[in-house]
């Protein structure tokens, strides 16, 4: 039996809009096995980013249970906040790669230094960092700063950072949302290729239904918040 990388059960999350509570997630459950990919789709405000934040511990759910790579986080189990924070931090540092739509890089560091920083935080050797940039086709830009390269090149560098840490799970929040179609296609292709080659799992939040079909699973969070 394949071990699940991630299991979430009964996730609930509400936000307040003025004085009104708005339910973003109501009883969401999902499971993802090693090597699988899941597309989260839905309109703006449907909770895609919230789900990703909850699944990597950047935001606590109001209720529910998340199990990532054997680490269990249950809202009903009392635990000191800093202990929960420390377990999540260790997971993000060593096992979970996160890629946002933009601003994934430290602007004061070169592309290569960004990848090195990410690898070092994960406890990885930083010897391969230049190779990762080469593999993503931006090796010659290693010494450039983020503002000196294009949006597509920045996102490639972000992928290099995510894979340089040798993750078990990658969470990508609209990673190609700000790119033109051609560049987006190239970046997406590289993302899936690397995911397949390294056998890690992937959760991809996207508006793009065509892109969603390339994932092994698809979860539509609905048209209306709270649905």
């Amino acid at each position: 039996m394949v071990e699940p990388v991630l299991v979430a059960r009964g996730l609930k999350k509400q936000f307040r809009s003025g004085n009104q509570p708005v339910s973003v997630l109501s009883d969401l459950s999902l499971r993802l096995d090693r090597g699988e990919s899941l597309a989260l789709t839905g309109r703006s405000g449907s909770g895609k980013s919230t789900v990703l934040n909850i699944l990597c511990g950047l935001e606590p759910p109001d209720a529910g249970r998340v199990e990532v790579l054997g680490e269990v986080f249950d809202s009903r189990t009392p635990e000191r906040e800093h202990q929960t924070e420390a377990r999540w931090a260790k997971l993000r540092r060593q096992q979970i790669g996160v890629v946002f739509q933009e601003a994934n890089l430290m602007p004061a560091l070169s592309l290569l230094d960004n990848v090195r920083l990410r690898a070092r935080l994960a406890g990885q050797d930083d010897d391969d960092c230049r190779d990762w940039l080469e593999r993503l086709g931006i090796g010659e830009l290693a010494g450039r700063y983020p503002d000196q390269v294009s949006g597509g090149q920045r996102q490639r560098a972000a992928l290099a950072m995510a894979f340089a840490m040798n993750p078990a799970l990658i969470l990508a929040d609209e990673p190609t949302g700000s790119l033109d179609r051609q560049t987006a296609e190239a970046v997406t292709r590289q993302l899936f290729e690397l995911q397949a080659r390294h056998g890690c799992s992937l959760i991809l939040a996207t508006h793009d239904t065509e892109l969603a079909t390339r994932c092994s699973h698809h979860l539509d969070l609905g048209h209306q918040p709270g649905s």
Binding site: N53, C56, L58, E59, H82, E85, A86, A89, K90, L91, R92, R93, Q94, I96, V98, F100, Q101, E102, A103, N104, M106, P107, A108, L109, D113, R116, L117, R118, R120, L121, A122, D126, Y145, P146, D147, G151, R154, S178
Partner: protein, 759 residues
């Protein structure tokens, strides 16, 4: 929606940011107004006190008898403008002075408003002369000293026979020392204005930084850049107008609160209400602050010029560095005060440009040598923030340097002044020798008194003038003569800058003179030099035995044994300084009156004078310290606010570290190290600037302005205090930012935000 409303909409969404901007303008205005108001008040007060105690002229009888009402009538009938001044010592009301308002009117016209009671005639202790006369009559026995003041335009020749002019003085003259301090307060005011301008410029830039995305959007909608700039200037001017008024009010309130103590000290010293605590105008502070706001906002238009002047690339700091060196060189060799102030301005401008550049360069260099990527990132962030927080950092650097210099100056001044005053007022009492009295008879009597003979704590002082002559015997500048005899323990303990082996013994033998620092500096006189002097008609050469400090005034002076004065030396004034020991001052005074055949003697208690003079200066020192510390606090608050806003724009990158798995505590620790690196670096750079400024104040400005210098002293305890303060500012920024780390921060909204300003 109008364009202005669209621009302002940012603040409707973020009212705290608007509040922060407004608070900065209010605080900056308050600070400058406070210093300005305080300096003006102190200047007016000291002017008034000087005017009150300045040596004036009085008419006395040639026969030495005290003047009476009959003399007043005679003089007025002779067409002279004299004013009766009846001083009555009253147990209940202290010292009361009665003046005649009608005579005062003529006096005031003749003296062009420079009358001692200027504007204070309606209040105690000045009263109408009839009231003072009643008070004098009511005492048992009737007491009261009548003097007849005459305007400065009259001379001996215009007096009827039987009368002559004499000096009239109310008390000790501390004016020159006060002027020196006022000059330093003025310099402080200029520096505070500079710091205020930097803070306001920071506020303006802060407003721009906060709304950068709105501007980008408006420009995309086709609004020209110039129109946006004009509206921003308009907006900041309106904001300034609204904030400057409460700022000025607060500054004046602060200055009045601090200044009332100063006023009390002055009143204590001169026995009259002297503090000019009246309301000053609003126009100067409001107009100055508006001008400063305008300059701070329009400085953008100078940028193209600055860019042309700046040399790009690695030699970017070359021009400011050269400017700095030129400023330092000018400060060493400046021949006049104006050049010295130019040098100070050059050094501050250059230091202000170089400091952020230096921190950024150093951080970049360290980043290049770090093997740990996280440390490298932190160093790069220090570099970015040093450049983006340049203005508030420089304001803090200036404020720290100023505090260092002023603290060192005040502490040095305090100790030096106390020591000097104690030496000059070593005797317990000071007795004026009446005009025409035989001082020799009094000296013979004093010398026979066993108590004084045993202690030797008394001497006679003769004042007059001498001319310096050149080698051809031609008369040169006039210097004051301070002649003493006998030389005893009242003076032998004086601190001397330089001297021969046994200076006092040589002086007592009449074999030389001592010179004050002012004369030594001006005439480049050294120990052992022969000074050619004309005393009376006698020209002689005398060796210089010592150089002594003389902080009270700029005039050159020689100290000589009274026996060395020729018989034709014109004595302008004589006095006795006595510490009676086991004798009573009343007994001495009674005997002297008998010897001199006079009814009244002027006897002053030196301890009271010393205490009151010290009180004035203590209060001035306190005010100066308070204002500089206030400047520092404001600069620290400015950095805190700017740091808070600019760190907010970097908050995402700290959050990125958390996303990458760095525990929040460690991310917060990185933030703390970063903030501390910045504030510590600026404190370290403020240190040499502060020491240099101290040197300029004590060794350059004072000698050029007044002819005397203070000892240069450094106080490492102040350095430590500033170090602690810089750590506190850094920790406060980090604490403020920690809250942002704990709340979800949004990423920069568009990729266009990455335009290079981030690194």
């Amino acid at each position: 929606m109008t364009l202005l409303a669209a621009l302002f909409s940012h603040y409707r969404r973020h009212p705290l940011q608007l509040l922060a901007l407004a608070a900065m303008i209010v605080l900056a205005t308050m600070l400058w107004t406070g210093v300005h108001h305080l300096t003006s008040q102190a200047r007016a007060s000291l002017d008034q006190s000087e005017s009150a105690v300045a040596e004036r002229q009085q008419v006395i009888r040639a026969d030495g008898e005290p003047v009476s009402v009959q003399d007043f009538v005679t003089l007025r009938r002779a067409g002279l403008c004299v004013m009766p001044w009846l001083e009555v010592a009253s147990s209940g009301a202290g010292r009361v002075v009665g003046v005649d308002p009608l005579a005062a009117a003529c006096f005031e016209r003749a003296d062009q408003g420079n009358a001692p009671w200027r504007g204070e005639l309606d209040g105690a202790p000045f009263v109408d002369i009839s009231e003072a006369a009643e008070l004098a009559e009511a005492q048992d026995p009737p007491a009261g000293a009548l003097s007849l003041l005459i305007s400065g335009t009259d001379s001996d020749a215009s007096l009827p026979p039987g009368y002559r002019l004499a000096a009239f003085s109310l008390g000790p003259d501390t004016g020159e020392l006060g002027e020196s301090f006022l000059l330093n307060l003025d310099a402080l005011g200029v520096l505070v204005l500079l710091i205020t301008a930097l803070l306001l410029r920071s506020v303006y830039l802060l407003g721009l930084a906060q709304r950068r995305e709105s501007f980008v959007l408006l420009r995309r909608f086709g609004v020209p850049r110039n129109r946006i700039s004009r509206l921003l200037v308009l907006e900041i001017m309106v904001l300034a107008l609204v904030c400057i008024v409460p700022g000025v009010w607060l500054g004046r309130w602060l200055a009045t609160g601090l200044g009332s103590g100063f006023g009390r000290a002055l009143e204590g010293l001169f026995d009259m209400p002297l503090y000019a605590g009246r309301d000053g105008g609003w126009l100067v502070p409001v107009a100055t602050m508006l001008a400063v706001v305008l300059v701070a906002c329009l400085a953008d238009y100078l940028r193209p010029l600055a860019r042309r002047l700046a040399v790009a690339g690695p030699s970017q700091g070359l021009l400011p560095a050269l400017f700095l060196l030129a400023g330092i060189a000018l400060s060493v060799w400046a021949p006049a005060l104006v050049w010295l102030f130019v040098a100070v301005a050059m050094v501050f401008v250059a230091a202000g440009i170089l400091a952020p550049l230096l921190i950024a360069r150093l951080a970049d260099w360290r980043a290049g040598h770090e093997s740990d990527p996280l440390s490298r990132w932190r160093q790069r962030e220090v570099s970015v923030l040093a450049r983006r927080l340049a203005l508030p950092l420089v304001a803090l650097q200036f404020a720290m340097a100023m505090v260092l210099a002023v603290q060192a100056l005040v502490t040095t001044f305090e100790s030096t002044f106390d020591q000097w005053l104690a030496q000059r007022l070593e005797a317990d009492y000071y007795i004026e020798v009446p005009e025409g009295a035989d001082a020799g008879a009094a000296l013979a009597w004093l010398a026979e008194q066993p108590a004084l003979k045993a202690s030797g704590r008394w001497h006679r002082v003769i004042r007059g003038e001498a001319a310096l002559t050149n080698s051809f015997g031609k008369q040169g500048p006039v210097v004051d003569v301070f002649a003493l005899s006998p030389i005893g323990p009242l003076v032998t303990g004086w601190q001397l800058f330089e001297s021969v082996d046994t200076p006092w013994q040589s002086l007592a033998e009449g074999s030389g003179v001592m010179v004050n620092e002012q004369l030594a500096r001006r005439r480049s006189v050294a120990i052992g030099d022969m000074l050619s002097l004309q005393l009376g008609q006698q020209v002689s050469e005398r060796p210089v035995l010592a150089i002594y400090p003389d902080y009270g005034r700029p005039a050159g002076e020689i100290l000589i044994h009274a026996s060395a004065l020729p018989p034709d030396f014109r004595v302008s004034f004589q006095s006795l300084s006595i510490s009676p020991g086991t004798m009573s001052i009343e007994a001495i005074s009674r005997n002297l009156k008998q010897i001199w055949g006079v009814e009244q003697l002027t006897v002053r208690d030196n301890r009271a004078i010393e205490a009151l003079a010290s009180a004035i200066f203590d209060q001035t020192f306190l005010l100066t310290r308070a204002m500089t510390i206030l400047t520092l606090i404001l600069a620290a608050i400015a950095l805190l606010m700017m740091g808070w806003v600019l760190f907010s724009t970097r908050a995402w990158y700290f959050r990125l570290l958390v996303v990458w798995g760095l525990p929040r505590r460690q991310a917060a620790a990185q933030l703390t190290r970063l903030a501390l690196s910045l504030t510590t670096a600026i404190a370290l750079l403020a240190l040499p600037l502060g020491v240099w400024l101290t040197w300029v104040l004590v060794h350059r400005i004072n000698p050029l302005a007044f002819g005397w210098s203070l000892p240069m002293a450094v106080y490492p305890r102040f350095w430590l205090e500033l170090g602690v303060l810089s750590l506190l500012v850094g920790l406060s920024i980090a604490l403020l930012m920690r809250r942002q780390l704990n709340s979800p921060a949004s990423a920069p909204e568009s990729a266009s935000a990455l335009s290079g300003g981030e690194r």
